[in-house]
Structures are given as structure tokens and as C-alpha cells.
Symmetry: C2
Subunit: 218 residues, 2 copies
């Protein structure tokens, strides 16, 4: 009994390893040639197996895209979290997360395109794969609320509308950078280097009425 269980556990583990390898290759293809270049055959080729065998792990190409989408969301969430964990919750962490977001998009332009645009005809990510991004969104939303409570931003910033404006700024910067100067670094990119100015613009737009008020000491 114990043997059977451990065997099936081993089989499942092996299976998961293969799936993981497939996704690593898929991500590499995305990075090298863009999201549209992912094919079942190419992944199978890199795995050293035949294309039909991959269908034992994924029911369709779209499901591979969905897994890639989930993976990308998990990665960007982890990256942003790591980059902002030392920042103070509130405005400071909002800005740190925002910068991290643009940085990550430039590190993983293919994945970013899959996450934030819709480059694959007919592919719509599943609700599941979307989940990590909602989590990040919530954390952001909360930081804005904190920033308002701290007096760093006007109450207008504590809103879905303000969140969307922030997304607009970040996705706009990333997409223009990727489309027009894909090989630049974060600091050299003519668009990515606008990040701080865009964030300043956003903060000024939501400046609290007591304009020159200092943040109270704690």
C-alpha cells in the first residue's frame, strides 16, 4: 500500500518535472521570438520528444499558454514582492512596486506581452491563472489606501480609478519601450527612464490639499 502510494507520488513528481521543463522551454521561446512563436513542436523538440507526446501533459496549445500566463503572473508577483519588501507600506511601497514592475517587464518582455496585451488570437487566460495578479493588485490597492491615510496622497488616490491610472502608466511605459527600443536597459531606455517622472506626475496629481504638510513622525 505504502509502496503503491509512493510510486504514484513518484510518477506524479516526474510528471510535474516534465511539465516544468516544458514551461521553461516555452518561456525561453517567448523570450527569444515572442509569444506567437510558441508551438507544440518546438517545445517537444527542445524536450527531446515528439510533438504528440506533449499532449499527454497539456490538452492543447492554449493550455500551454494558460500555464505560461500563470507562471508569468507568479514570477512578476514574486519579483515585485521581493523588490518592495523592504519598502514601507503606503506610498513608498507603491512606488517601489511600480518601478519593479517596469523593470520586470524589461527583463521578461515576451512574458510581459502575454500578460498585459493579448498577442495570441483566441487565447483568453483562465480565472485561475489570473489569480496571482489580483493578489498583487489588492496589495497595491491597499498601499494606496495607506498612502491616503498617511496623508501622502489625496483621498482621490484611494480608488479603483487611481489604480487603473497607475496601470496605464506602467503598461504604457513598458509597451512603448518594448515596441520601440526592445534591447535597451531600464536606465538607458527612452521610455523606461520616464518611470520616475510618470510616478511623480501621478503623485502630484493626487497631492493632498494641505500641500506642504510633512508626514508626521512616528
Amino acid at each position: 500500500m505504502a509502496t503503491t502510494l509512493s510510486q504514484s507520488a513518484r510518477v506524479r513528481a516526474r510528471r510535474d518535472v516534465t511539465i516544468e521543463h516544458a514551461l521553461v522551454h516555452a518561456q525561453a521561446i517567448v523570450t527569444e521570438q515572442g509569444a506567437g512563436a510558441v508551438t507544440v513542436s518546438e517545445i517537444a523538440r527542445r524536450l527531446g520528444m515528439r510533438a504528440p507526446s506533449l499532449y499527454k501533459y497539456f490538452p492543447s496549445l492554449h493550455s500551454i499558454y494558460d500555464a505560461l500566463f500563470a507562471r508569468g503572473n507568479a514570477r512578476v508577483t514574486a519579483f515585485v514582492q521581493a523588490a518592495s519588501q523592504d519598502a514601507e507600506p503606503g506610498l513608498e511601497r507603491t512606488l517601489a512596486s511600480a518601478r519593479a514592475m517596469v523593470r520586470w517587464s524589461m527583463q521578461e518582455p515576451g512574458l510581459a506581452a502575454l500578460l498585459y496585451w493579448r498577442p495570441i488570437p483566441g487565447f483568453v487566460p483562465s480565472e485561475e491563472s489570473f489569480a496571482p495578479s489580483r493578489q498583487m493588485w489588492e496589495q497595491w490597492r491597499e498601499d494606496l489606501r495607506t498612502a491616503v491615510r498617511d496623508g501622502d496622497l489625496a483621498s482621490s488616490a484611494d480608488s479603483e480609478r487611481a489604480m487603473r491610472m497607475l496601470t496605464v502608466l506602467l503598461s504604457g511605459i513598458s509597451s512603448q519601450q518594448m515596441a520601440n527600443q526592445p534591447d535597451a536597459s531600464y536606465d538607458d531606455g527612452v521610455f523606461s527612464s520616464l518611470t520616475d517622472e510618470a510616478l511623480e506626475m501621478f503623485v502630484r496629481h493626487h497631492q493632498p490639499s494641505g500641500n506642504t504638510r510633512e508626514k508626521e513622525a512616528r
Copy 2:
């Protein structure tokens, strides 16, 4: 001699008509299913001809994309120009053009994606096809300069940097709208309805130092 010339002219005209029809169909496919769904076969099918015949009009699928790109640029330029022709050169026309830009992107989401993102692996638009967009860019650049001269914006707005920021705002709004709520109208879209606020934010960011100064009468 005259007959020969007029005949060849007619042939060229017929040829151009076919090319035009092909592009109309290609654009329809883009609108219906996204840029990645354009195939030589599908265009040929809609034209009522065999796929290989299309290769007499276009050397490759990429060249069709390039023609589509040029066509899209021409269309958006015409649309923006028409929408802003009655506006006063300077800040007013900048804002009118900006709004028109977002509106057009929502009318032609597929073409907009082709123009402002890079959804097709390996496809890079030719310099020629880019030309109309540079023209629009120049007109915008000039309107910003005029706005600064008129005292409507600070001198910081008369810069490539400010132009890029404006592009970031508009492409960000369009891309987020298309990715998250593709079927909404301009007025109902949760992102497209941010357009005016984004422009306000931009204008405030470049507010001239003499803050309350009125624009001089002419």
C-alpha cells in the same frame, strides 16, 4: 504607343484594386480575430482566389503585414487630423488629437495592436510604412511647442521627453482597455474614460510657473 501606355495603366489600376481588396479583407480579419490570425489562405479565400495567386501581389505574408501597417498608420493619421482640424493649434489641438487617438484605437483595436505593439513574431515594419506616423508625431511636437509659446504649458513640454510621456499615456490607456474590456465603448470603458483625467494630469505636470496667468487675447 498611346494604346500601350493606357493599357498598362489599366492593368496597373486593376492590380492596385486587387491589392486594395486584399488589404480590406486583411484588415477585417485583424478586426475580427486579431493580427495573428491573418493568413495568406484566408485572405485569398475571401478574395475568391487560390492562396498562391496572392503571391503575385505580395511577395510574402510579412509584406502584407507591412502594407497593413502602412494602411493603419494612414488611417489613424487621417482620423486624428479630421478630428482635430477645427481645433486651435497648440494645447487645444494637442488634446483633441490625443482624444481622437484613443477613440481610433478603440474603433480599430486590431490595427492599433499591430501599430503600437509587436504582436507578430519577426515582423518589423519598414521605414516607409512608419512614415505617416512620424508626420503625426511632428505635428504633435509642433503643437506642444506652440502651447509652450502661448504660455499654456511650461517649457518642459517642448521636448521629446514630454512627447513620449504623452504616447505612454495614450498607448497605455488603449492597450489596457483592449486587453481588459475589449468590447466597451469609449465613454463606458473603464480605461478609455480615464483619457481626460490623464490629459489633465499631463497638463498639470507641465503647468507654466506663472500659475494663474491667463492666455493673452489676440
